[in-house]
Structures are given as C-alpha cells and as structure tokens.
Assembly symmetry: C3
Homo-oligomer: 398 residues x 3
C-alpha cells in the first residue's frame, strides 16, 4: 500500500462507527459490531502500510503495556510486544511467580496495583473452561472501578490474548489474511471454510481457536463447516453465535462428524486439534477440587479417545478433495506435523511444507491487529489521529 492508498483507507475508516470501542476492552469478537470489526481490519492495514512506508505510528510518548501470560506463548507474546512498541508503549510482563500474588491478593488489587501508568493489559488465560474470560472481565471491572474512584489516572484497555472462549487476535488475524489473500472482504462471501478437528498426540488444547473462527467467519457470508468426531463438541453458546451470524450475513453454519465432508470443495481448511468441551469442564472441576488422581485418569482416557481418531489428519488425499485441489491451508501454529514434530499429527508434512509461506503470512497480521485494537480503544477519533500521523510524517527509521 502506498501513501495515497493509506490516505484513502483512512477516509474509508472515517465512515465506520467505531466509537463503541473507545475506552472499552476487546474480549470477544461477537461483542463488537460489524463496523467495529471492519474498523479493526482497516486500522491494521493502515498500520501495515505506514510501517512499509517507514511512517512512525508512535502515538504514545510514554506508557506501559502490561502482559500476563498464564500459558506459554511465542507468537502472541511477540505480537503483543511488537504492537505495544509500534505505538510507543513499553512492555512490562506481570510474572506471577515473581510477584506477591500468591500472598492471597485479590484480582481487584493486583489489577489496580499494576495499572497506575498502564494504557493496555493483554491477558492469556486459556487453560480452564469458565475461568479465562471471566478473569479478564474481573480485571476489567477492577480497573474501571479504580478509574472511577480516581485511583487510576487512565483506565487501561484489556485485550484478550486467548481465553477459554475466544482467541480474537488470532481469528481477526486469520480473517485479515483471508481478506488479503482473496482480494477483499466482499470476496469471502460464498467461500467454504472447513474448521476441522485434527488428531494430535497431546490433549487438552484450548477450544478458543475453533470457537473464535466459527464465531467470527460466519459474519462475512461464508459457508462455515465445523467438523469433529463425536464427543469433540465446542461450547453450545458459541455454536449459537455462529448460527445467528450466518443467518444475519447470508452465509451458513453447518456441523458434521466427517472431515471428508468438510473438506469437499472447501476454499479454506483449518485442521486443528482441540479438547472435548465436556471433558475440559470435568477437568476444571477436578482441578477445583484438587482431585489430581482423577485428572490423571481423565488424561489417559482423553489420550485414548484421541487415538481413535488418528485418521483425522490433513493429508494430500484430503486436500485433493478441496476446490481445484488447492484450498488455502490455515493454522494458528505451531502445528503437529506428521513425521516432523510427532509420529502422527494434524497435518501431513508435504501439505504443511508447501503452505509455509502463506501460513507465516497469516501469523504476520497479528501484531497489526493487536495494535489496531489498542489504538481504537484509546482514540475517540481514530481517522483524525491517523491523518495527524500521516501529516506529521515522522520516520520510523530516521
């Protein structure tokens, strides 16, 4: 995108109603209006264009971006760090092991204590059903109260970096990849995407990726197929969201227990392992009760259950059933690649290998998506602020 293209995009942005994002959090894509989703894509693309044209997007002279990762992360950690730095914020990681949180401190207290100079808090908390998103809302409530009580000079924005329900920075980056790959959001209409369960030798992977995908991609008139073996259902609330979205957008949302059926004629495939929702709920309860013996038993059962579905692998043969045999392969990475990272996994090595460049490109949108989420939450008139940045024209590399 050249400078004129950027300016046109800013003008288009100014037509979108995104003021609902101002001073709000980004927790679930389905809590955001179509205009807000479109504005997030628009700002992400404008930022990408600005960086390519060496125009600084540094809107903060100082300020902190707090990160809290309750699960391992490479991609999202670096994407959040990149987004914060891109806007001028310094990253400060909240390492619960080095803090005094074990001391019985409440969420409300910690949330306020780290936020005196924080403009954004990014949280990953995806391990337990019913916990992660609830935790983010507890943090949001706490900083809202703190701000209203005059304790916090500013009210930091919470960005969901993956919870038990949604993974919005992932699904938004995935969709922006599709928009760029197919040449525009309107080109997604009528495209068939297979969001399919796939076998992995591990167990207990979050449901937030498939849920995030069906909860978002049903909004663009796509034919979204969710495929999984019986017993690997996702949360019914999210299925309901997908149905509503599909009805509103003129697309469809279909479930199947056949990977083959899902791949048949698909334009896009997203084969990925996840844990059965019911089992994850049970596991959360067992953890709550400290019943570690039963957890071990459950884990064995789940691995045995998984092993029944080793044929749920994205093979060349399956890819051959897709539209013109060349569906776009998506994955949130890292993938379990058969013969590479495990003996049997989600995807055949040859499929993964020839998809590598587009896969990495898919991941490359995440820093811009996160920066856009932060930006739209902090600036009431985002188009005006972006025009200011373009007019100032400060160089990123001087």
């Amino acid at each position: 995108m050249d400078k004129i293209g950027i300016q046109e995009s800013v003008k288009a942005l100014s037509q979108l109603r995104s003021e609902g994002m101002h001073l709000d959090d980004f927790l679930l894509t389905w809590e955001r209006s179509d205009d807000e989703i479109a504005a997030t894509f628009a700002v992400a693309e404008i930022f990408r264009g600005m960086r390519q044209n060496n125009i600084s997007a540094r809107v903060f002279d100082s300020g902190l971006a707090i990160s809290l990762f309750r699960d391992n992360s490479t991609r999202t950690r670096f994407s959040f760090a990149s987004a914060a730095n891109f806007l001028g914020l310094a990253l400060q990681d909240l390492d619960e092991g080095k803090s005094q949180i074990a001391h019985g401190e409440t969420v409300r207290e910690t949330a306020n204590m780290v936020s005196f100079m924080a403009d954004v808090i990014g949280i990953r908390d995806d391990m337990y059903i019913g916990k992660g998103n609830a935790y983010m809302r507890e943090v949001a409530t706490a900083v809202q109260q703190g701000h209203e009580a005059g304790i916090l000079e500013q009210r930091p924005t919470i960005v969901n970096l993956q919870c038990d329900i949604d993974h919005p920075t992932q699904s938004m980056a995935d969709t922006l990849h599709l928009i760029n790959h197919f040449g525009g959001v309107e080109k997604l209409r009528g495209k068939k995407i297979a969001m399919s369960w796939a076998y992995s030798p591990s167990y207990g992977k979050p449901l937030s990726v498939p849920q995030g995908v069906v909860g978002l991609m049903t909004r663009f008139g796509m034919d979204v197929v969710l495929a999984h073996p019986k017993g690997y259902e996702i949360m019914p609330e999210v299925e309901a969201v997908a149905k509503r979205n599909a009805a509103a957008s003129g697309g469809s949302f279909v479930k199947t227990n056949s990977m083959e059926a899902a791949f048949e004629g698909a334009d896009i495939v997203y084969p990925k392992s996840w844990a059965p929702f019911a089992a994850m709920e049970k596991r959360t309860d067992l953890y709550g009760n400290g019943d570690f013996e039963s957890i071990k038993v459950l884990e064995k059962e789940l691995l045995a259950q998984n092993a029944e579905f080793k044929k749920w692998e994205c093979t060349e043969s399956l890819m051959g059933q897709t539209r013109e045999k060349k569906a776009l392969y998506l994955h949130c990475l890292p993938a379990d690649i058969t013969g590479v990272s495990c003996d049997a996994g989600e995807v055949a090595a040859s499929v993964f290998d020839r998809s590598r460049d587009p896969l990495y490109r898919q991941a490359s949108y995440k820093p811009y998506i996160i920066a856009a989420m932060i930006f739209l939450a902090r600036f009431k008139n985002p188009a005006g602020k972006l025009m200011d940045l373009l007019n100032a024209g400060f160089a990123r590399i001087r």
Copy 2:
C-alpha cells in the same frame, strides 16, 4: 492540578535547596534534609499533574533503569517500571539466576558491568538484617569508583526499593497520601498515627516498613506511636532517629505494648506484621553459617511466638476507638485479611473492604515518588528543567 497549579508548584520547588540530591543516591529518608524531602514530594506532585494534563515528562531520549529484586515484588516492581518509563528510561531487570554472578563475581564487578549505560539502579534487598542497605552502599561505592576511573560515562543513581532498614519509596508515598488526604503537609502537625504490629500467619516480614514510617513521619510534627508486643522491637538506631526527628519537628514519638492504647484517638492507623529484630539477626547469622536445621527450629519458634498475639488485629471494635471512629487506615499491601487471604490476619475484612479506595490511592503515589527521586538525582536545576518541560508541552499521548 491544572497547568497554572503546576507552574506555581514549580516556582515553590525552586525555593527548596535540593542540590544535595544531585548525583546522589536515595537510601534512607533520614539522610535527606527537610528541603530535599519536600522537593521530592513537590516533584512527585508536579509529575502527577503533568500526567493528568497529558504533558510528557520524558527527559531521557535513551538510557537504562536497572532493577534488581532479591525478593518478590509486584507494587514496587511496577512502580519502578512506571517511573522509569515516565522519564524515558528502558527497564532492564538484572535476574541473578540468568547471570554469571554465581561464578564468584564481586559486587564491584557486577555493579560496573551492568552500568555502562545505566542512569539509575533500583534495588530491593530486604531479607537479611545488616545486609540489604550495606549491599546498596557497596553498589554505590562501586559505581562511584567506576565513574571516577573513567569507566562509567555516567554514575547511576541507586534507589532503595526496600532494604533491611528503610523502605523510602513506601514511606514517602504513604506520607504524600497523607498530605493529599489531609490537605497539606502543615495539616499533619498534631495528627496521631498508630504504627502498630499486627498478627499474620506468616513470619519473617521485613522491619523496613514500620522503621521507614517512624523514621519519616516523626518529621512533620505528628504524634507517632509505635505499638507492638514485647519481643517485636525494631532496630534501636531507627528508634533513635524517630526520637530526634520528633524533638526537632515538635511532634512526639512514643512506644507502647498495647494496640488499644495506640489506636485510642488516632487519626491514622497502620497495622502491619513484622518479624522481631533480634530473631531476624539470629536468622541472618544462622544463614551465614549455613545452619539450616537451626533456622527451621527458629521459624517454628517464631510462628509459635506470633500465634500468642492473634488478638493484634485491626478490628471494627479497635477502629471504633480512633478519632471520630474514622481513622485513615494505611497498609503497604498486600495485607493479611482475616477470612479472605488467611483464617486470622492483620485486619478484619470489613475494615479492609471499606478502606480499599484510599488504600489503592496510597499505593498510586509510589511511581511518582520514584520518578521524583530519579529526577532530582539527575538534574541539578530541577525547577528549571521542569519549566522547560512545561514550556515545551509535548503530549504524552500525542
């Protein structure tokens, strides 16, 4: 505070003699003159006003703020990170576990090796009596030598983020909270503060908070009462400081073994657990000798000793004895709250709960206090530099 208020504060600051802080460290409040203490409060408030008015205080275009935490920390860690970022410094944590310090390296060497581009070093070292403050002075001597020998281009400022003797960033933030709460430092004159020991199911908490409080708050004409069970004495040197301060300021410093007596008619209460000084000295010696068996025995003894004083709890009944039954409740946080973070603790849940907003506000001053300490150590003419910043008027959020 509006912009005119900020300018007036800067003018008032220019009347204070703070040049003794220039290129010096902040290790103990009682090493600093009354003007220097007043200047620190003034700069902290000016910084708070600047941030509220979106005026950037970024005086460093580059430079590092080194942090070294030898004990867990959330509040102080984030306050130091916030202060560094507010002034334009990048935080670099010295994690001794990831360094080569175990290699038998001297303090002198490490201090120089991390300081080539460091403008400030913040240290928490509060675990052992006789060690923490001494360590900070060893670092200060080392960087002074390094600077004089031409090895370090600049001589970084050491800021005490809690040692065995004092916790100056805490006591200064606490006092600034009182100044704002009561409407001016002169309003503190004649106010009664109860710095009281309180029961906690843990043991071995540093003495630096009560010592810091009685060592500082006796300077403002307050009636400072130190209350604790027999055997929980603080360091006699600090008691001597408090006595001298009280005599000079026209206040008083009284000790008692009755929590009730301390709370009686108090304007401010600060109930908080700490370890007996003598036991901590013994523990430090045992550690020095590697006598871990005796340490275990000592810990059991200390917990048993603690348990004798479970009634030292800040209850509603005790709060009812304070002035107009509404003394301001202080705590450095996190507190041991009865029925919340432990079965029996320092404070009743109802007292803590209705004090939450002012408690969090108390904590909110720490980033500004630390920023002021750094600023006054780096700029010879702080009022002039602040006026420059106001005149430049760069926005924090552009």
Copy 3:
C-alpha cells in the same frame, strides 16, 4: 572526543567501504573485510563520543531487538540491551522456557514468528561444538527467506553474541580497548600478545574467546602467541584463519605449550580457561545420543585433566617476565581469581586487583561495538546518517 573530533571521525568513516555489512549479519570477524572491521571500530568510537557529548543516537523511533541467550550472561546481556536502547530499539527476550518451542517447532518457524517487527536478533549459543554458529546461520537463512517471501517487512540482522566458534562482540571490544590503550590501531603493529590457557576449577568453558582473539588480533600486525597445555587445542580451522591473517598483516601467529614462553616479553596477556576441543566434540556427540552416564564420566576425566595444569596461573612472577614487567592484562570476565572466587584459578588476586580499572574499561566498549554492528547493518550510508544525527543534535538527556 569532542564534537570536532567526532566530525573528523565521521569523515574518516566515509572513506571506508562498509557497504558489505548493509543488511548482512555479524557472525565471524574473519568474514568481514579490513574496512568493515575498521568501520565497526570507527562507529563504536563515534557513538562513544556522541554519548559523552550528550548527543542522541536514536535512529529508530520504534522496532524490536530480540535476544536469545541459551547460556547465562550478564555482560553481554546488558551490553546488547544498552546498544539496542542507545539506538531506540526495545529489547524483547526470547525465553525458550516460556515459549511453545518445545512443541517441536522448527527454527525456521520460530525465527519468522518473532521477527515481524524485529530489526536485530542477538544470539548466544556457545554450549556445543558444531551447533551454535550453525544455529545462527539457520536463523539467518530463515529470516532471509521470510523477507524474500514478503512475510517479514524487514530482514532482521543477526548478531553473534557468542557461539562455539567466535565471540566477535568480545574480541572486537578487546581490540578497541587495545587501540585506545596503545593510542591507535597502527600502534598494535609488532606488539606481542599471549593468548594463554589458564587453570580453572570448572570445565567446559567455550573456546570462542581464544578463537575470537587469535582470529581477529592477527589482522593488525601483532605477534600473537597461543599457549596451552597439550590436549587443549583450539579448532584447526580457526588456527588456519590466524595463520592466514598473520601472513597478510605482516604479524605472526605462533603456538606453544609453555605459558612462560608466551608471557616472555609480551605487551599484552590474556590468560583464560577453556575446554579441550576434542573433548567438547565428544561431549556434543554424547548429548546428541542422550548418553548422560558417559557425560558424567567425561566431566570427571576433564576435571582431572584440568587439575594437572594448576600451575597455568597468571602469577606476579609470570607478569614479571612480560615487557617492562607491565603487560596489559586482559580478560573477558568473570575471571577465576585464586583465593577470591576459587582456591586456585586463572589469575593471582594481586594481578587481577591492580588490573581492575583497565579490565572494566575493556568491557565498557562492548555496548558501543554491538551498537556499531547493528547500525552498519541497517544503514547503507553510515557516515551520512551519522552526520545527520550530529547536525540534528538532539540531546540524550534533554
């Protein structure tokens, strides 16, 4: 250096052909031309002068510097952090323990995933012969591919922060120390340096320091003597480099098994422990096979072998054999000091102690060397860019 001196240095720099460094990595000093080595020294000195004159060198308004340390580090970690900050980049550490790399992810994938907004990646990987430098090249290839495929907007520069073969930021800083100590690079001609093995109670120290020293210092017409007990040979490829360099520069490269012979008349001594190359190769193979029993046996053998050479210590007596009894003592630090950090070590306490200031000065060049490496890789016309910075004259401390 005053401002006029800086400007003259920039003019001198403009005569050097350093364009080969642009968009390239810094992995081995002997891959860089004489002009490129000279340009690195020149930029490092210009940066040091700029900082002394409070002139900002902030060329990046945003951007990340990724660090990956697969071995402990204090000096290099802080030097890299300092260099990044000096240029305006934010440090982001890749902690493999907190990432998803264990998941079987490839180097190619991780390298791309962390690099979307990275301008530089600094890597320490010095534990296994045949692995570290190879890993850096794998990362370099990956980001090159990613950049060419349009995934990475910029192609980050890889800086070797110590590998199995070379430790270029160390040897370059060491040499810049010599240049300043002796008054110019031309003064190094004919100087004798003893790069000598020395006893340490530990084992398995990397060979990269002695290899880096003989691989670089042979380029300046020096008489480089490599001394070690039989069995402590360095990599033959690096010896070949040293020989070639010496022949080209008019210096010499000599090996000996006598510490005394090496020290005789030396202008500079660099006594330092390292592991035998052959044993390290064997150890790498054992690790590869997971044969931990044999590794334990090998470690015992190596410690026993080491113990035979306890007299290889840099004593006062040996220092008395050097030129005018006052050879400059070098060490990469931390040193094993007899009676200080160990019972018997690399150097006598009295020798180390009176060398402390120059030793710390030696270390002080590393941040500037690293900043120069980054700068020359990112800017095609470094002299022009530096002149821009001088003309802009922004203050580091405003």
